[in-house]
Symmetry: C2
Subunit: 238 residues, 2 copies
């Protein structure tokens, strides 16, 4: 049992139950083992502690093993923009590539464990493992796609549509991790949601209340139960 506990720093890539999410599917067993060799697993991070901060030197990319991470940018004027939420099995920190220093920051939203993958060693490794190289390009590309979807969301959609879309995103990502897609706990605060979606805290709160009144959701602080996923999808799709 201990070996599969996500907080356990001893767990290796082969046994990690997230490996289907963060590793390329095509990897052979011995390749996973070689990757495993370079992955560094520290002890759990406390809530609100930084994985990296703006202007930190870029040296690694990260995978969430347990808990949850948010990333944010700081504009020249000091405005904070949350750019992503990352759940177990997901990769973050790729935007630092090609800069020598991070332009964003990453913090734990709750007690979390992460895997650190030194970038230089990953580069070496991908020279001899084409599927890793490809996977890695896909990750950068996915980052761009994600950002552009967020741009569309912010640019074209109402508060209700934005919140519905975020809830469905978390729902489907939970499903991938074999968790319930209809009942889950939001790791982030209302302020984080608002910041991410370009809304004020009050608006986010009101949307949750409205959804509850309309029977789409059951909301208890951060606990969410989706009661009418079709209606949410309807909202998210229009």
């Amino acid at each position: 049992m201990a070996v599969t506990c996500p907080h356990n720093p001893e767990v290796n890539c082969t046994d990690c139950r997230m490996n289907s999410l963060c590793l390329p599917i095509a990897l052979e067993l011995d390749e996973v083992e070689r990757l495993n060799q370079i992955v560094q697993r520290g002890r759990p991070l406390q809530k609100d502690s930084h994985v990296y901060n703006v202007a930190d030197e870029f040296s690694a990319i990260y995978a969430v093993r347990s808990g949850s991470i948010k990333t944010y940018n700081v504009s020249d004027q000091g405005a904070i923009q949350v750019t992503g939420f990352f759940l177990p099995g997901e990769i973050f920190g790729i935007d630092g590539i090609a800069h020598t220093h991070y332009v964003s920051a990453a913090v734990a939203m709750e007690t979390s464990a992460i895997c650190e993958i030194p970038f230089s060693r990953l580069e070496e490794l991908s020279m001899t493992m084409p599927s890793l190289q490809r996977h890695f390009f896909k990750l950068m590309s996915k980052e761009i796609t994600n950002d552009q979807q967020l741009i569309t969301l912010l640019s074209k959609n109402s508060a209700e549509e934005r919140v519905a879309t975020l809830l469905l995103s978390i729902s489907s990502r939970n499903a991938k991790r074999n968790l319930s897609s209809l009942r889950f706990r939001l790791p982030m605060s209302r302020a984080d949601i608002g910041n991410y979606l370009g809304l004020t805290v009050e608006t986010v709160s009101r949307v949750f209340s409205r959804f509850q009144k309309q029977g789409l959701l059951e909301v208890d602080k951060k606990e969410i139960e989706i009661k009418d996923i079709d209606a949410l999808q309807e909202l998210s799709n229009i």
Copy 2:
């Protein structure tokens, strides 16, 4: 004279007056020549014709030689989101990397000439030219940075702030191309601006009128003269 005309397909990278913008600075003369060998220059594109479209096979990245290009995404529901405007010397089409097919589209906003750089040959070339490889990573990274800046703009800024920021962006990019930073012609329509900035055409138009009334701009259709760049910067910075 003919050799420096930007529409001329015969002009090569060494002589192109945009080369300081689209090529890495560190390239040796003979390296430029090797790159020049793989660049394909077609005849000019007409206004509104596509460089590539959604679902086209990804095979190359592009540089603007003359004219201007816009890129846009199409959401599942068919909504169009303009994601970028590209001026001479700028590179576009990088978001197709790591997908086999484009997820976005690129169209000429006016008669334009472009350089096509086949991706597979660029990959080969960068194996032997470290500075090209690095430059190339920077481009992907810049795409992410740009997108995230747009996210912040859409998420946190008012209509006036968004328009001011776009104008200043074009102004400074013109300066890099040795054109006037205070007097220029906008290549894109009001509708494109609105789509890009998450505003309606009417709002964009009103903001231009207001800026003119306040003496920040002189607007004549697409011709713009910046009268008070400090005031614009003030707006863009807050």
